[in-house]
């Protein structure tokens, strides 16, 4: 009797060991399937989402839909807070995004990402391909293709820079530059508005507070107009440079009467003021000169 049990046990052990090997192989294959699904959709199901997924799949035992919904709502709230923080940090608001797997193998995968987003009041469509390669325990990411479409009035200003960015694949630079540009435009708008409020009789913004041009005139001399042209330029390397110029428009008779030096030299003199006093200081000087009674020093 005991001998038989010994043999039966031996057989059972072998059978179980074989069964376990098969199970391990099955599990490995399922894991790979799951990983592929994860990579394709770029989504992992865990926590409340995993419970919800299984409910959807009909696996309702031990899962109370109400509890799962509650937990899921909590997670969604946390994610919304995270997204809000990210949006503020990056200065980017993602309107829509599509991610597709172009290529996937055990160690390397390539995704096509199409994002429409807003950055600094500009609407962009950014399409890029990103490849991730497993290296040791981590992975290396690399952008292998980039296309940027900017829907904005500033397009001309940006076109050189955008071509360069598409070549150099420098996505971080793209957004840094856009944020920089937006900050410089905000600065201009604030300064112009401030002066319009401080010197309402002289300064006006016919193009609105976001415009590049501020018009200055003395009410007593309607034909003589000064323009402050404040452009914000972007170099191909992504450097944002404000360029401010003083332009004059004077009637012929005025040009004949006044020696050209102070009038013709106004633009250059303004550049000196800029160097000495900065943008705000220089514009303020011009405005104060205009507001001062006639007979005061010309600019």
């Amino acid at each position: 009797m005991q001998e038989k049990t010994g043999e039966e046990n031996g057989d059972e052990v072998k059978m179980l060991e074989g069964h376990i090997e098969d199970l391990r192989a099955e599990i490995a294959s399922l894991q790979r399937q799951k990983e592929e699904l994860n990579r394709d959709s770029m989504l992992h199901f865990e926590g409340a989402m995993l419970d919800a997924l299984l409910i959807v799949g009909g696996q309702t035992q031990n899962r109370d839909e109400e509890t799962v919904m509650f937990k899921l709502k909590e997670e969604v709230e946390e994610l919304e807070k995270d997204l809000h923080l990210q949006t503020e940090m990056n200065g980017i608001s993602v309107d829509d995004c599509k991610i597709k797997t172009l290529f996937s193998s055990g160690r390397e995968w390539t995704h096509q990402v199409c994002v429409s987003l807003q950055c600094s009041q500009m609407v962009l469509q950014v399409d890029f391909q990103i490849t991730e390669t497993k290296v040791g325990r981590g992975s290396e990411k690399k952008i292998v293709g980039l296309n940027v479409v900017l829907d904005s009035d500033e397009l001309q200003n940006f076109s050189g820079f955008l071509s360069r960015v598409e070549e150099s694949l420098d996505l971080p630079l793209l957004f840094r530059t856009l944020r920089n540009f937006s900050d410089r435009c905000d600065e201009r708008s604030r300064t112009f508005q401030h002066f319009q409020e401080t010197f309402p009789s002289v300064a006006s913004l016919p193009g609105g507070c976001r415009s590049e041009v501020m018009v200055l005139r003395r009410p007593e001399l309607p034909g003589c107009v000064l323009f402050i042209h404040w452009a914000v330029e972007i170099s191909t390397e992504g450097t944002v440079v404000p360029k401010i110029n003083l332009l004059t428009k004077l009637p012929e008779q005025a040009l004949e009467r006044f020696p050209s030096q102070p009038v013709g030299g106004a633009a250059e003199a303004f550049q000196s003021l800029l160097r000495m006093l900065g943008a705000e200081g220089a514009v303020e000087s011009v405005l104060r000169a205009l507001v001062s009674p006639v007979g005061g020093r010309s600019i």
Partner: protein, 274 residues
């Protein structure tokens, strides 16, 4: 009488015992079987769970693409969850910063991503304490990056965004300069790197120019730490006329405007250097 029968049974028993022990015995066998049965059950559980998950994902796909999805809040809620996660992933890929709220909202841990020519390089992290006022906490930014001066320059207190932008620019520029140097060492072995500092803001290279293998010492100074391009390029040579030649002046110009490894590739192609 008793002795003989007992002796016989005892002997028989001890014989059986010896035989049983020699076969490894049923006791250890039984516990091994129990062990294996337990393991098999556990593994079956894992396999069933995986299968259920994969089936459920396929089902979810079907429901999402169906023209007539079932009513109820669960699916839309899951949809919202996935959508938020995807947007966060996009931010992670392109934004340049990842931010995590810590200490019950009293601080933010910011991860600054760096990349050069499309290759994502290292991530630096820094904790920004928000209350009572904005302050830099723990970080792993190298000491040669002038963190404090950047904070002052960009008015960290009032404009954390400007500070982070400047920090990102400096870190990306540093990592970019370092990567350029790496590429030079990999791709242009004939060019010897004589000197470089930690910040990679000063480089001294030794060129060998054909046809007589003339040595030229090239010093590159990156005064603007927010840039990957040198502000100053200076050549030294025993023959002091050589650097003044139009070809070498043009090389200096290229070196000022083009990433180092590309500039050197161009110079090799036009046979200015070996």
């Amino acid at each position: 009488m008793e002795n003989t029968s007992t002796n016989g049974v005892l002997t028989h028993l001890s014989l059986l015992e010896v035989r049983a022990l020699s076969r490894g015995g049923p006791e250890p066998q039984r516990s091994r079987v129990r062990e294996l049965r337990g393991e098999a059950e556990e593994l079956r559980g894992v396999r069933d769970q995986l299968e259920a998950e994969i089936r459920a994902r396929k089902r979810l796909q079907e429901l999402r693409s169906s023209a007539d999805p079932p009513a109820g809040e669960l699916l839309p809620l899951m949809r919202r969850h996935s959508d938020l996660k995807q947007r966060l992933h996009v931010h992670h890929l392109i934004g340049g910063f990842d931010a995590v709220r810590t200490r019950q909202g009293r601080a933010v841990c910011v991860f600054v991503q760096t990349a050069y020519e499309g290759v994502f390089l290292e991530t630096f992290n820094m904790e920004l304490e928000l209350k009572p006022r904005v302050q830099i906490g723990r970080h792993n930014i190298p000491p040669f990056i002038p963190l404090q001066s950047l904070a002052e320059q960009s008015h960290l207190q009032t404009d954390a965004g400007a500070f982070l932008s400047m920090l990102s620019q400096h870190l990306n520029a540093f990592v970019g300069r370092r990567r350029q140097l790496q590429l030079v060492q990999e791709q242009h072995r004939s060019v010897e790197v004589m000197e470089s500092n930690l910040l990679c803001s000063v480089l001294v290279l030794l060129f060998t120019a054909p046809p007589e293998k003339t040595a030229l010492l090239c010093t590159l100074k990156y005064a603007d730490l927010g840039s990957c391009l040198p502000g100053q390029v200076h050549l030294d040579c025993e023959d002091s006329r050589l650097p003044e030649s139009p070809e070498w002046r043009s090389c200096c110009d290229t070196l000022r405007k083009t990433p180092l490894h590309r500039a050197l590739a161009g110079m090799k192609k036009s046979r200015m250097i070996l």
